[in-house]
């Protein structure tokens, strides 16, 4: 991933964008931070947060025009948060110690005018280490705040907060009016001058003016026509043209410019975040119950600490997290995409040293729901898939990560399953049925029946068995994917490029994305149009429809499936997340292989979406849900199931069963349709095993297939390389057919009679990937 790409992706995730209140506040008070501390009951910390942006919280907490309130998203659920009152509570009830100053810079700044703009400018510049002289024409300080009645702003609060300027070391000179030529003197004596004399001042100090007679300033920098002289506040904004908080913002803007000016930095670079702006944060508020504002028992005294805490509790707080809300994977890693893309970028950039995010990258189901719900369509699926490709290219993909699935793919494309033929008795195909490896592994009988139905309805329908190559794509193996596509393409060509009928939406998507020359139809579209098998019927009870995640971009498929269910008179419940917002069953992207605990949680979450039994049209979704106890039907069960209710409860086939089902399917169609025998199978296939359900379950969890065990025993029995336990008499043998060494503890079961084949009882099986080398002892 290039750095500019990272920045682009980071910018798409707006979770870290300031919330509406902070964005609307001219000084950008961190309202969410304040709220967090108030909820904890830590008023001192809350005050520290407020004061980071706001020098006079007691004054502002009483007098601010509070643009934050109209921006607050609580408005959409009850009333806006009383942010100003909360700031006041922080100021009144929190303890404050004067802030630290930066080391003295030795440069001198004159600020003319003791109103809100001048006060903030003086305060900010003093904190930055400048020597600041504040000149006020009258006395005392405070400008327009002086005009407010005592009950609105007690003098004690005003004077208390303004006295901090002198505590910090600002030299305040009262009754020091500056007029006309006075600016020349100031400019001679000081390194920079800020003019903030207020709206009532008509003085323009000989500076360039606007047509209405005000001092002309650059709106971004507050610079006047004279070098080193800046102007801010209502002097510039005009009478009644701005609240005190806007004047303060302007004073801060001028102070920032002066700091840059005196340090020789650019006055204009990166200043877009100053002043109020519309928030980029996307927030959905419709899920929140409306709540009224907490009223202070004594309005004059303001909130007590407890009242402030209760009011703070009303803040949501604002967050986007649209993707995290709907994705168990994104939620479990406890962050959000802006952080995740940075982690992935860092992970891919590590040259030497441990890469900590490999499992994270391999755990994504690549289902694309995040991109669908994201206001900016940031799609982690694309990010994770590309990251996997990079890992493979760098030679840093953990070898074990996708191995099992890739071997399954290779197996499905071997002579044990793969096949491409015209319909029996024909020499051309108008269509070809591609049922996909998982449906054949789960429901071979239904595939056989469906192939018959398609031939009956459509005539010349060929058959292609094999894997589409999705595991290669999910593993980031572009090399294997290219090989597989070439194989599919060759098979398709050999049949004369007929229209492909796909039963699996993962195959459908893969064909669509990578074999654009192939004309495609989903099986559901074909059935919807060409008619259902005669025995098709609805289940007795209502079913909830789960759309497989690879149908997300296929609305027509959603429609055809619903139409078929409707034709059957099926009572269908729609799940809250369905169609383009459907969830993955954890098979996608090989999540189930990379992160089993997460995969379990993903399935649990999905099957908890409704108490109703599910129906779906992906064999893996069905089997993964059923494996965790959710009665789930496959759409084909309605077409061919003898006892539909029972079909919903059938257990998921294990990985070995899936192989066996595929072999059985191929053998059956070869024999029945083409009158042929299976091509020669590997010799170990004839080894007969007796495996208890417990051992079978263990093998399943350890991803050890029956054929792996057969190979170990064949090797041990042929070579004699095995151990025997003196007590139990069991044999133990290890064998490494490829990358993994399998160990099997077994005993031969003596043939019970003449002509009986030898069988082996399997007691245990385990595996490892480390290699073992032993020199000849001696």
């Amino acid at each position: 991933m290039e750095q500019h790409k990272l920045r682009e992706l980071e910018a798409m995730c707006i979770q870290e964008a300031p919330p509406a209140c902070t964005a609307a506040c001219p000084l950008h008070v961190d309202v969410r931070g304040m709220i967090l501390e108030l909820r904890r009951g830590d008023l001192d910390a809350a005050l520290r947060v407020v004061r980071k942006a706001l020098p006079f919280p007691g004054i502002i907490g009483r007098t601010c025009a509070a643009p934050c309130t109209s921006a607050c998203r609580r408005n959409e659920a009850g009333e806006a948060l009383a942010i100003r009152a909360l700031e006041r509570a922080c100021a009144d009830l929190g303890t404050h110690s004067p802030p630290a100053l930066l080391p003295s810079r030795g440069q001198r700044v004159a600020v003319v005018g003791g109103g809100p703009a001048g006060l903030v400018a003086a305060y900010d510049l003093r904190r930055k280490g400048y020597t600041v002289v504040l000149l006020e024409a009258e006395a005392p300080l405070g400008g327009r705040w002086r005009d407010l009645p005592e009950r609105e702003l007690p003098r004690s609060v005003l004077e208390g907060e303004l006295s901090e300027l002198e505590v910090l070391g600002v030299e305040v000179r009262l009754r020091s009016a500056v007029a006309g030529g006075g600016l020349d003197e100031l400019r001679a004596e000081y390194d920079a001058v800020i003019l903030a004399t207020g709206a009532w001042s008509n003085e323009t100090f000989g500076l360039e003016r606007t047509p209405d007679g005000r001092i002309r300033v650059d709106p971004v920098t507050c610079a006047t026509s004279r070098e080193g002289v800046f102007a801010a506040g209502s002097l510039v904004l005009g009478q009644g043209e701005g609240s005190a908080i806007q004047s303060m913002c302007d004073g801060r803007r001028a102070a920032t410019t002066v700091d840059r000016f005196l340090q020789g930095a650019s006055l204009t670079a990166s200043r877009q975040g100053e002043g109020p702006y519309p928030s980029q944060l996307y927030v959905r508020t419709e899920g929140f119950a409306p709540l009224p504002v907490v009223a202070a028992a004594d309005a004059q005294a303001g909130y007590t600490a407890e009242e402030a805490r209760r009011e703070a509790e009303r803040c949501f707080p604002c967050a986007c997290l649209e993707c995290v809300k709907v994705c168990e994977y994104l939620a479990q890693y406890k962050s959000y995409p802006r952080k995740y893309v940075r982690e992935i970028y860092n992970n891919l950039s590590i040259v030497a040293g441990t890469r900590h995010s490999n499992q994270f990258i391999n755990s994504c189901s690549l289902c694309g729901l995040c991109g669908e719900v994201c206001p900016n369509h940031l799609d982690m699926a694309t990010v994770c898939r590309e990251a996997r490709e990079t890992m493979v290219a760098q030679g840093r993909m953990p070898p074990s990560a996708h191995d099992f699935a890739l071997r399954d793919m290779a197996w499905s494309n071997s002579s044990q399953f793969s096949l491409a033929r015209h319909a029996p008795g024909t020499t051309s195909s108008e269509y070809v049925f591609f049922p996909g490896c998982q449906l054949c592994g789960s429901a071979p009988e239904q595939v056989r029946q469906m192939y018959g139905h398609l031939r009956e309805r459509l005539g010349k329908v060929g058959l292609m068995l094999g894997c589409c190559g999705a595991p290669a794509e999910w593993a980031g193996r572009q090399d294997l994917l290219a090989e597989q596509l070439a194989r599919l393409s060759a098979g398709h060509q050999s049949l004369g490029q007929p229209e492909v009928i796909l039963a699996c939406s993962t195959c459908y998507r893969l064909f669509k994305n990578h074999l654009p020359e192939a004309r495609l139809r989903s099986l559901w579209e074909v059935l919807d149009e060409a008619g259902l098998p005669a025995g098709a019927r609805a289940p007795q009870d209502k079913v909830a429809l789960h759309d497989p995640c690879t149908t997300r971009q296929e609305p027509q498929m959603h429609q055809h499936v619903r139409h078929i269910l409707q034709q059957l008179g099926c009572r269908v419940e729609e799940l809250p997340l369905s169609r383009e917002k459907t969830e993955c069953c954890s098979f996608g992207g090989q999540m189930w292989l990379a992160n089993r605990d997460l995969a379990r949680a993903v399935v649990q979450r999905r099957i908890a979406a409704s108490d109703t039994d599910y129906i779906t049209y992906c064999a893996v979704c069905r089997d993964f849900f059923a494996a965790q106890g959710k009665p789930t039907l496959h759409l084909l069960d309605l077409l061919y199931g003898k006892d539909i209710a029972e079909r919903a409860h059938r257990p998921a086939p294990g990985w070995s069963d899936r192989h066996e089902n595929r072999v059985r399917l191929k053998r059956a169609v070869l024999k029945e349709l083409w009158g042929e025998e299976m091509p020669d199978q590997p010799s170990y296939e004839s080894i007969r095993l007796l495996i208890s359900p417990e051992v079978r379950q263990r093998m399943e969890e350890r991803l050890i297939l029956v054929e792996d065990v057969q190979q170990v025993i064949e090797h041990a029995e042929r070579s004699g390389a095995r151990f025997q336990n003196r007590q139990s008499g069991h044999y133990l043998a290890g064998h490494k057919p490829a990358a993994v060494t399998y160990w099997v503890e077994y005993s031969p079961l003596p043939a019970s009679g003449q002509g009986q084949e030898l069988q082996f009882v399997v007691h245990n099986a385990y595996s490892h990937r480390m290699t073992v080398e032993s020199s000849q002892p001696g």
């Binding site: 953990p398 074990s400 032993s774």
Partner: protein, 70 residues
């Protein structure tokens, strides 16, 4: 990686080809670009090594995971 404890648990295993009980012996286990010498039960005649279930699923699995950055 030391796996002496496995050696003690294996005198009941006999190498069928050579007909002798296993004894602890130095062998090299490796993965990716790393290799470690360890003591494991093996046949003192033909050198065939036995990897016990506890070792395969315990220490070996841990080391594999570590070396893979998985």
């Amino acid at each position: 990686m030391s796996e002496n404890q496995k050696a003690t648990a294996t005198p009941e295993w006999v190498c069928v080809r050579c007909g002798v009980p296993l004894e602890p012996g130095k062998v090299n286990v490796g993965y990716l670009d790393s290799a470690f010498p360890v003591d494991l039960p093996r046949c003192p005649r033909c050198g065939q090594v036995l990897i016990a279930e506890e070792l395969a699923l315990g220490k070996m699995a841990d080391v594999e995971k570590q070396l893979e950055d998985k």
